[in-house]
């Protein structure tokens, strides 16, 4: 079974400052890793994913994340945030066992609050 821990429930940051949202996972098998963003009263939008290969993955809206297998982490970063980045961010994991379907296990989310 897999689990995901997002260490920060809320991250306040000023506009144009850099930000890092932390995510650690636990799994006995290889995993795929994802970051989703949820704007108020909206669905989940995929920001980026790690499947294999380069450990640094780039996503939409200037976000990037780095997979660190030894630390079982997949932290999300952005060098300069905007007010419009204010949203809930979820880290998620799925196994790579190759079944017909692949459920996602989510962390508890981090609210990124960008202040002017």
């Amino acid at each position: 079974a897999q689990s995901v821990t997002q260490l920060d429930s809320q991250v306040p940051v000023f506009e144009e400052a850099p930000v890092e949202l932390r995510c650690n996972y636990s799994s006995s098998v290889s995993v795929y890793l994802f970051w989703y963003v949820q704007y108020p009263n909206q669905g989940l939008q995929l920001l980026l994913k790690y499947l294999s290969g380069s450990t640094l993955v780039k996503g939409i809206n200037g976000f990037e994340a780095e997979f660190n297998k030894s630390q079982t982490s997949f932290h999300l970063r952005k060098p300069s945030v905007h007010i419009s980045d204010t949203a809930e961010y979820f880290c998620a994991v799925s196994d790579t066992l190759g079944g017909a379907t692949n459920k996602l296990i989510f962390g508890t989310g981090t609210l990124l609050a960008v202040q002017p």
Binding site: G43, G98, F106
Partner: protein, 114 residues
Amino acid sequence: AAGVIQSPRHLIKEKRETATLKCYPIPRHDTVYWYQQGPGQDPQFLISFYEKMQSDKGSIPDRFSAQQFSDYHSELNMSSLELGDSALYFCASSLGGQWAYEQYFGPGTRLTVT
């Protein structure tokens, strides 16, 4: 591009009533997932279907049932509703098999049980 469609977007029911939530996947997607997100919580996996057959099951109450139809749309049926069933219900779709990790989420159905 076409997205996942969920209906209704909002639903208000009373305790002990039944509710049916519908999900229309992206065209050519043969896999559907249902997730439940309680207030201030992370989405929890309920159930998934591949090619009209149940593939995986999570923490779905026995009062809930779901199926995927021949046109690949899916319905989540919820009976004997309880206050604790109030949540945002997401449907996601994907291609099956090796592409099953690439899930696209719908906007959700917000169910309020009073």
